[in-house]
Symmetry: C2
Subunit: 359 residues, 2 copies
């Protein structure tokens, strides 16, 4: 049984494994490679849970994270972030040690890879299908073609990589499906026009969660789904019961007059990511902690503000008297990746500590 | 000279020391104790810069932070956060080792201190003068009196502690002064009514920065002012030249058509704290890095979005061609405390690494 004395990130291992198993099985049934994004959990131990389910290839979001997981037995790693050429000497060594996938979108980066990295790397061209964060617009076929042609031996133009990040602003299944369908169709049209044997790699949690099967893609890279969070539940990627992490936050003050409690659980624990509804912004959902996990979210409780260490929670007037200093409330995070990064460590419901690359 | 290859928190040591020196001198001239909040920098080395300026007493925001600084030679520590009674066994040991100040606002916590902590601690009652986050409303004299009376030997009712956090939402000097004046007057009226010899401790960066001298208070606890940030510059607590930390973020993509660059510098580096103006939200101010620091903020550059690792910056159309992949941009953070907590380490302009309790 877990015991909490200070802000602690509880992890329901069964839910997390169920979440990744569901995706691993869906990927397998569709015949696509599952290359989960490890930027959600940052943890060598949690990595092993994936490995036990047959996962052999992973995605990371920084060179440092690639180095960390390479040091823990992962030998097929794609860094799904534009290459930072200032760290080329690290990449040079990493490419010797593991099968390394790099994401590029400019001639200058390809030139740097060609001249500075000796061991073969898999080069993916980042393609934008509507998110407009990074990548080359999918209709710029000539530009992409020229990039592909510039990739020199021993490196290989391996595939087209996209992130349909605009699904995160949708809450309707049909909208997400439409973004997914447009993205996959665009990538396939592009591949046809390039006339090359290329892998298509996609990876947002909303569309990967909502699609029943994956056609015309070769690889999926979702990461957040291991934990999910309130944002994903609002999008419809999961139900709230799927959320596998919960910040346990001790109550340090109770205010009867304004029907509020203050917990030790603030921006340095949860992050300042927030959602909003007709009542304004909120920073997570309150749950009651139970021996075997936590309750359904208490929808009439509201986390209305976070300072550096404080969380301010409004409680319905008829319930405020139930709470006292020294109680511990649970908070389902808005964005589990940022919460995990801040907390640096998890505690399972059995009370085992699980570390991350930060601790 | 510093060298940056990945997201790095640059620290201008001269500016930081100038910032703390200014406050230390102002406190001295007013005859008040300076008990800086160390939750801004989290660093044992930076703590020494204060010590060199004669600072002997500090403020922290969590019990873990108190333990960290107690382990680095600080023996007069106030934890300016409501006592978390679940960590009473840690406090018990800490009270033996250092002169410990605790902040309370309920009978149940005073009872726990009386019964569980053997070594004398200084007890401060947290008073609310308008921020309404934590504390007892200053006019509830009877409640505060009863709390004071409940504090049992060897512990001492040492003072009244307040945080005028509502100054952070103001941008006019006269508004901040008015909050400060009301708070200080309220605390003095309360002390008079209690009829006891009590210390008055206050501590927000805006009012401590804007007041020329401190009258009728015994102690100031501001922390953020060592670094300041864009939020404080907007409030008027500092000028932008005072800001002493800057995230160096490598450019990883350049988009001529939409006049944007993407840097490696996102929510896991800067935090999601944001400000807004007539153009919407923004996440910091862009500066150009120079050998001896950084330029003035480029007000027509806009950090319009942060993902976990990406920062998206809009550049004026006539300047976008100046930038290429591999350049490094500087970002003055919106909220330096959260950025320092995330970055875990600083690099001075001379290239020296300065650690924190997180690294």
């Amino acid at each position: 049984m877990y015991k909490v004395t200070k802000p602690t990130l509880l992890l329901d291992k069964k839910k997390a494994i169920k979440n990744i198993k569901r995706m691993a099985e869906k990927a397998k049934a569709s015949g696509v490679n599952y290359r989960p994004h490890f930027k959600t959990h940052f943890s060598k131990e949690i990595g092993e849970w994936y490995r036990d389910l047959g996962v052999k290839s992973i995605t990371v979001s920084s060179i440092d994270m690639a180095v960390f997981f390479a040091g823990h037995g992962w030998d097929d790693i794609t860094i799904a972030f534009p290459v930072n050429i200032l760290q080329m000497d690290v990449l040079k060594h990493l490419a010797k040690a593991v099968k390394l996938g790099l994401v590029v979108e400019s001639q200058s980066v390809i030139k740097a890879i060609n001249t500075e990295i000796e061991s073969a790397v898999d080069v993916y061209i980042k393609v934008d299908t509507g998110y407009h964060r990074v990548g080359i617009w999918h209709e710029n076929v000539e530009e992409i073609k020229q990039l592909g042609e510039a990739i020199a031996e021993p490196h290989q133009f391996k595939g087209l990589l996209a992130h349909f990040g605009h699904t995160y602003s949708e809450t309707k299944r049909e909208e997400i499906k439409s973004i997914y369908d447009y993205g996959v169709a665009s990538l396939n049209a592009l591949r046809d026009q390039l006339g090359q044997k290329l892998k298509i790699s996609i990876g947002d949690t909303p569309s990967c969660s909502l699609m029943d099967k994956f056609e015309n893609v070769d690889e999926i890279r979702p990461g957040n789904l291991i934990f999910y969070d309130v944002m994903q539940a609002n999008i419809g990627s999961c139900i709230k019961e799927d959320i596998a992490v919960c910040l346990a936050a001790p109550v340090v003050a109770v205010y009867l007059e304004r029907s509020e409690v203050v917990v030790h659980g603030g921006a340095v624990h949860l992050s300042k990511d927030r959602l909003n509804d007709d009542q304004g912004d909120y920073y997570g959902k309150v749950v009651l902690l139970e021996e075997k996990g936590w309750s359904q979210p208490l929808e009439d409780y509201r986390i209305k503000g976070l300072s550096q260490e404080h969380g301010k929670i409004t409680i319905p007037k008829d319930q405020i008297r139930k709470f006292k200093i020294g109680d511990v409330l649970g908070i389902l995070p808005v964005h589990s990746c940022l919460t995990a990064n801040l907390m640096k460590e998890y505690m399972t419901l059995r009370g085992e500590k699980v570390g991350t690359m930060h601790l």
